[in-house]
Amino acid sequence: MKIAYRWLLDYVKTNLDVNDLAERFIFTSSEVEGMESWADKLPELLVVGYVKDVVAHPNADRLRVATVDTGEGKDRTIVCGAPNLAVGQTVAVALPGCSLGQGTEAFTIAEREVRGILSKGMICAEAEIGIGADASGIMVLEHKSKPGTRLAEAIGLADTVIDLEITPNRPDLLSYLGLAREVSTFDRSKLIEPNSHPLKKGAPPVSLDILDHKSCRRYSALLLENVVIGPSPRWMQSRLLLSGQKPINNVVDTLNYVMLELGQPLHAFDYDKLPIGPGIDQIPSLAVREALAGEKINGLDGVTRTLFAGDIVIVDQENKISALAGIIGGEESAVSQTTTKVLLESANFHGPQIRRTSSKVGLRTEASTRFEKGLDPEQTVKALERVAYLLKEQIPGLKLSGLSDQYSGKSRSHSALELSFEGIQQVLGIHVSASECRSILTRLGFKYLNSTKSGFSVLPPSWRADITLNEDVIEEIVRIWGYDRVPSTIPAGAIKAPKRNSVIERKQAAREKLARSGMHECIHLPFCSKAQLERTGFSTAQLLRLPNPASMEAEYLVNSHLVNFLGNLSSANRNQNELALFEIGKVFSPESTEREVLSAIWRSEKQPEQLLAVVKACLQGLGRSMHLASEFTYNYQEKGVSNPALYPESIIAITYQGKVVGQLGLVRNSKLDGWKIRSGRTCFFLEINLESLLNEPWHQYQLTELLSHPSIERDLTALIKEDISIAELLAKVEETANRSILHSVNLTTIYRDKSLGENQKAVTLHLVFNGRNRTLEETEVKSSLEAIERALTKLK
């Protein structure tokens, strides 16, 4: 809600300046989203001028020469082409040097000769100043202002606008009066209700039929006769501009003005366009009913909208929709330049339904944003009375002919709330005195029903539908009393050692382990497009789709981080050829909804075998780090794992205690091509399903005895067939070695050369022997080594 500071002062006598006021709003009710000074929006060199004389231009038929007093002691000669220019007018003058217009249309006024006469400025039209659409003639001020006064000042635009974030529970604050009430409460200053013209129920101008009282609790209507449509007064136009509304005409502007003032949206029908009803009284009849699915309304914005069942509509005698209640009026009954009779509608519609309709038809208006939050039914007639007052001042001879008012919801008023001071203290932790409570609540409009030493009971005001519980009242007290005055304490009571969450700790341990191994943790948005899925080789069938994605780039929830990783390698990290990334997070699918996975990608210029050794180094010790009972193992035989993006022959099943929990494999070149990944194209992708692992018992490793006796280390080189894997070789070594003394076997090098013979490779292993609780004999090692060597010759 944009409020103009000076305008607000109409309703509350406060000495707070605009900055202090904004700050008080922040600390008591509404966050300030921005502030804007309008005085600075209109140029300083735009001033008020008084037209003293007008003569024809000697050299041009359409131009005239004006003598204008701009308060400088010396009159200015200004050439002007506007047809409405006349002596005695108070006008807006742009002095030389003044910049007008915006962007490409910006221009600067200069003294210049126009057909032989030096023109020292420009008399402006509304459109040229940017405060209206009228470009047909110059803007003429109704009130005389001192020549030379800044125009912004003269027309009431020299004001500062505070943009307040009004929370959805406070529709009453979508109005100047509501906000003034807040000021009067926190500043303890006087609230001033605007003037109004009292209305009495007369002969009803319209016959009303409210079919559903839940949809419409109250419908008040006032008929205005002898209306002359024209512009609204300049001050009103300026104020509407300040609050973000476009001036249109006197009737519409006044309705908008009163909506801003009091928070009650209003609508105007052209009375003569409503068909007359069947009754003998010869008046039109209107009905409020629910729309049928497929009914249409031609809005006064020129758009035809199809309605849904349940939308609230106002229909005329012929059952034609005249307005979509609380959102927009119909085109056919709209007020036009020739309207002379206006039927004003001031109603109370069911908030939730207005909100549903507004979101379904995709139209949010100033009216609907107010109605949807639930308005005070008590204010409908009050708003009409204010409109009557304002329009009577604008239109001489205006006739107020009768008020209709149907009010069915009166019984649903607030019930009283009983509070104790002890209860207040129990919630807030502070003591607020009885007098402070009373001062705050009465200023906010609460009615004190009863007051004792220990507490009080109050009735919330009709405009505060949000107050239904004691806690609501307590919040009112503390926000005005001051959140900043609330002391800071730490919850009492002994601090219990919190139960450790092994699932979370295990995930964090895995993260830290992988990061220690040189990998970078990523967190990707878990969304992807159909094209990205297809590029990766995944079908969209097993994915969760967002029915209304914000963009097609985020149409699906990922079922594998691979899509995100490949996207990453092709964009954010396209320049990093050597890279290891991992992510621990949820992936999504229809069958499991969401599951926690650990995924990783390694990217390199290396050969697959070399990179795979790096991959395995990263994963070494992962199980232990995660406090699992054993390490993960690689299963090279398992056929049950696959991934369309990986070469099937490359896939290694990751197992934990014999069960497959994941897979590791080389990403297909064709997929990298699809993603336009040009370098670092050796890519291994790993995925481990964490769901069952995270709930494994937390394994606390115990110390294995340290080696206290010296080890004997030996290198062993074996020439073996190319198609024998290192895993097979190592298995052979472990099988034949004296297990009681072999401590570890590690691969040192693999050497391939033609000189070794066809399909042969030389593999060097590093063996460590240790006797654990005794010193090893050289001979034991020798005989074990010989046994191994003998076994390995069979692999040649």
């Binding site: 922040i26 600390f27 966050e31 959805p168 529970n169 939730p352 909100r355 949807e372 129990q426 919630v427 807030l428 932790g429 502070i430 806690e471 609501d472 307590i474 919040e475 503390v478 926000r479 959140y483 900043d484 304490t489 919850p491 009492a492 009571g493 601090i495 219990k496 919190p498 969450n501 964090q508 992988l514 990061a515 220690r516 040189g518 970078h520 943790e521 990523c522 967190i523 990707h524 948005l525 878990p526 969304f527 969760l544 967002l546 029915p547 209304n548 914000a550 985020a554 929830l557 990453n568 964009s571 954010a572 990093q576 890279l579 290891a580 990334l581 997070g585 949820k586 909804t593 969401e594």
Partner: protein, 338 residues
């Protein structure tokens, strides 16, 4: 006879400096040793031999000095001898660092771990909840009824069949309270970090972001406790000097409600700005009742703290989307405490 003593001291000094000179000149260690300690020509040996003939006063002063010198020179010559046999290999001490790949934790998971650590100190347990939830968990149970205008602010990302991506970590509240009530684990002190989703994207909003929910339920706890805990938390994160402000707000599931802002200083421009970092309040009686807790017996408070905002404040990151592009260039800058 002081002159005699000083003369002898000069002799000792000369012996000392002659040894160091020879070491400096890289003389043969054995010949140095011989020149000083040799049985016949050794200079120090000669001096020591002359000691018995001296007066009592001279013996008392010079004896210990000579012995001290002997020990010193023995060690000096031995060290010299060793170093002359074990010379330092030649290398360039200005050699630049090898490029070792250092891994990193994502700033978000580091921040979550740090935040949970602070809450652990206050006795809060860490829990997690699902990211796909229904309207009941995300809205209804939290007193955000179907047609509540507050729902508009959530910009919910819906899935099929009434499911949605949770818009706030508060979605864990009611189920956790129910579970703990059933298993008699009251009072409650929990924090729930995690991913949340909303349909919005700009420099300060990402469709996926993180929150840390804190919930305390006890027989007696107040708005002052809430304010105090949040300020303690902010100070643990940012230091004693961090400026915060606690101001009223509205949430359907808390009453009274508040928001916490932190004063952020742009280190580049020096400008300061209040940044909203958390929404909070006393748990609404209806939410208590929804969890089966009697609001007359139990009170509680809860807050939802932004994870990204504190990261952005701390590291001067102005666009939240940078955090989820996962460029190694960015990740490398915040390796965290491994």
């Amino acid at each position: 006879m002081p002159s005699n003593i000083s003369q002898s001291q000069t002799t000792l000094d000369e012996i000392r400096s002659s040894v160091y000179q020879q070491i400096e000149a890289k003389a043969d260690p054995e010949s140095i040793r011989l020149a000083v300690f040799g049985r016949k020509q050794g200079t120090l040996t000669a001096f020591l031999k002359s000691l018995p003939s001296l007066s009592e006063e001279e013996k008392r002063q010079l004896g210990p000095q000579a012995n001290q010198l002997k020990k010193e020179l023995e060690v000096a010559i031995a060290n010299y001898e060793e170093s002359s046999q074990d010379s330092c290999p030649v290398f360039d001490r200005t050699i630049p660092a090898t490029q070792v790949t250092q891994g990193s934790l994502h700033p978000v998971s580091s921040m979550i771990a740090e935040m949970c650590g602070i809450f652990a100190d206050l006795g809060f347990e860490v829990v997690e909840g699902p990211e796909i939830v229904d309207e009941e968990d995300n809205f209804e149970s939290l007193n955000i009824t179907t047609d509540h205008p507050a729902r508009d602010g959530h910009k919910t990302i819906f899935l099929e069949d009434g499911w949605l991506l949770r818009t706030q970590t508060s979605s864990i509240q009611v189920k956790e309270m129910q579970r703990r009530l059933k298993s008699k684990q009251l009072p409650i002190r929990i924090v729930a970090p995690g991913k949340t989703y909303r349909r919005e994207t700009d420099a300060t909003h990402s469709p996926m972001f993180h929150q840390l929910e804190a919930l305390l339920v006890d027989n007696q706890t107040t708005l002052s406790d809430l304010k105090g805990t949040m300020q303690y938390f902010a100070k643990r994160l940012f230091g004693e000097d961090i400026q915060t402000r606690f101001r009223p707000h509205f949430f359907p599931f808390t009453e009274p409600s508040a928001e916490l802002d932190m004063l952020w200083k742009d280190k580049k421009t020096g400008q300061t700005r209040w940044l909203e970092v958390a929404g909070c309040g006393m748990v609404h009686p209806k939410v208590m009742a929804n969890a089966g807790l009697n609001p007359r017996i139990y009170q509680g408070w809860a807050f939802g703290f932004s994870i990204e905002r504190p990261i952005m404040i701390r590291h001067g990151i102005s666009d939240i989307r940078q955090l989820y592009a996962n460029s190694v260039e960015l990740l490398d800058q915040f390796p965290s405490q491994l």
